[in-house]
Amino acid sequence: MSRITLSKLAHSYLPNPKGEDDFALKEMDHVWQDGGAYALLGASGCGKTTLLNIISGLVRPSQGRVLFGDQDVTDAATTERNIAQVFQFPVVYDTMTVRQNLAFPLRNRGMDAGYIARRIDQIAAMIGMEAMLDRKALGLTADAKQKISLGRGMVREDVNAILFDEPLTVIDPHMKWELRTQLKSLHREFGHTMIYVTHDQTEALTFADKVVVMYDGRVVQMGTPEELFETPAHTFVGYFIGSPGMNLLDAEVMGAEARLQGATVPLGAAYGPTTGRTQIGIRPEYVTLSDEGLPVTVRRVEDVGRHRIVRAELGGQPLNAILPEGKTLPADGTRVSFASGKVNVYANDWRVAPKGA
């Protein structure tokens, strides 16, 4: 096990990348702590899988270095890196039994038979496949196959890291929850560095201590779920995390106040002058409907069970608010107010830190 460092890393699938647009991964410097549980979150095609494949050595980066601990492994083959990886779609060796499938990575590394047998029993119990160990892998359902893939990923104890590339896509929802919980307890027990790629925020937030949000080939924020929620570093994080995402409103920021549509919103902190497109971001959870504040037009109300989402418009810009259960929509003259200190300021999509922070 070791710390993984990405130094000045960038990757392009083209042989002669010209501009920044040719890069699937823009230059980045990141350190993944030993034993951390990370989730790599982002929309499809933002470079998550590329980054994962670079760490596991399936793809060689066009620029920069990859270090495991202090050792440079940029040019090391996958097998030398001692990494486990589970792919989005199940990979099983059809002609082998479930047992042989699980034993394959160990047998290839010349482990002794007694150890392999013990280890297979542990893993089989973990993925709930003890009863099927001697069945051919061929003809099993997709989720059984994916469980085998997960099992094969976890069977080695000495790996530097376990990488999961959207491994639960094909698994049914009930099993998804269970496997995710197991992965988490496995992480606590053995302390492997785990990197979990997903585009599902719930999956990311429940699995990881640290969530890494990627957007357009860039890591836009690496932080705890709370940080991502309270202070998104980029408008994409605000929009992508949360349901619905953060409200973004064009505004002018002057000191500790923002001006929009002729009204003034207190920001809770003072800001220096901003350049470019300035927006304020406020989570729907922190928007309260009341009889004072900014005037909005309510378009519709969606009941999602635990609470209701109010879809409104503020001077032509969409604004969502969350109405906690039990509360009713004020009958007339709907206005909204923002919880103080929960408003973030963005210039050209990046968060601006308040003065003195």
């Binding site: 097998t79 486990a84 990886q85």
Partner: protein
């Protein structure tokens, strides 16, 4: 899910049935007629019951031809299948070279059988052929017209040249359908090259490989044109395979009765083997979809 049964769909097969009846079934009935009767011309037939079949089954000539035929099919399968797999594994997977290699591989398949025969007949000639002259220049005593071993060598090499592409292209298609993740997983699992072949590539190729073996077996078991053009079945009878022998008997000697009995048995053997293959393949499919 229950689908509506509509047996009227069978009518759509009718045109084909009529066509096949006139082009294959009716002529075949003539063969059946000859197989059970004796004739001296003038459309007069005398019932011969199973005499022709008995004659053919006990005939040394037929047995020798069958032996040669089986040996020939076995040899070309033993060469073409492994060679085809080997070539498919080493073909470029994408880009310009992949297209070029695909075209080059497909070329032999596009050449008419008699032309293939002619090419090799000339290629192997000791007086003007490139192969014959080259071998002679190297001091190798090669002459497919009077040495049975050389004749076999030529006929087999010709078949390998003509048909290995088919096996290779089918395997190539099977290989291309393997998702990249399998190879990546194998690298993560530290599988050896042999393991990748044994546990990933071979199982995924199994279906197409069976079809390749079936096609090559059928084709080689019925081979006629190419060896006929090159060696004419000689020297002696050394390259007289079943269909060459059949043609000699029917159109050379006009032994229509025995030839008809012979061809019926020949037909049944091929039908039987196809059926066995078909059963094996559908069972494999069922196992996979279980």
């Amino acid at each position: 899910m229950d689908k509506t049964q509509n047996n009227k769909a069978w009518f759509l097969v009718l045109p084909v049935l009529v066509l096949v009846a006139f082009s294959a079934v009716l002529p075949l009935m003539t063969v059946v007629n000859y197989a059970f009767n004796d004739t001296f011309g003038q459309n007069e037939f005398f019932w011969a019951s199973l005499d022709w079949f008995e004659e053919m089954v006990t005939s040394d000539r037929l047995r020798d031809a069958l032996g040669r035929q089986t040996l020939f099919s076995a040899i070309i399968l033993a060469i073409e299948v492994p060679l085809g797999i080997f070539i498919a594994l080493n073909m470029p997977k994408k880009g310009f070279w992949a297209s070029l290699v695909l075209i080059l591989m497909a070329l032999p398949l596009l050449i008419p059988f008699n032309v293939v025969g002619t090419i090799w007949q000339i290629f192997g000639r000791v007086d003007i052929g490139l192969l014959g002259r080259a071998l002679a220049a190297m001091g190798i005593d090669y002459n497919y017209t009077n040495d049975p071993l050389d004749a076999w060598f030529t006929v087999i090499i010709m078949d390998v040249w003509h048909w290995t592409s088919l096996v290779a292209l089918l395997c190539y298609a099977g290989l291309q359908s393997i998702p990249q993740a399998y190879y990546q997983a194998a690298r993560i699992d530290q599988a050896t090259r042999w393991s990748v072949f044994r546990y990933i590539e071979l199982p995924k190729m199994k279906g197409v490989l069976l079809i390749a073996v079936l096609l090559r077996f059928m084709d080689s078991f019925m081979i006629y044109t190419e060896p006929f053009v090159v060696t004419g079945g000689g020297p002696g009878n050394s390259t007289t395979f079943l269909s060459i022998d059949l043609a000699k008997m029917a159109t050379g000697q006009f032994d229509l009765g025995p030839a008809a009995a012979f061809s019926l048995m020949y037909f049944l053997v091929i039908l039987l083997i196809s059926w066995v293959f078909f059963t094996v393949m559908t069972n494999l499919d069922r196992e996979e979809n279980r």
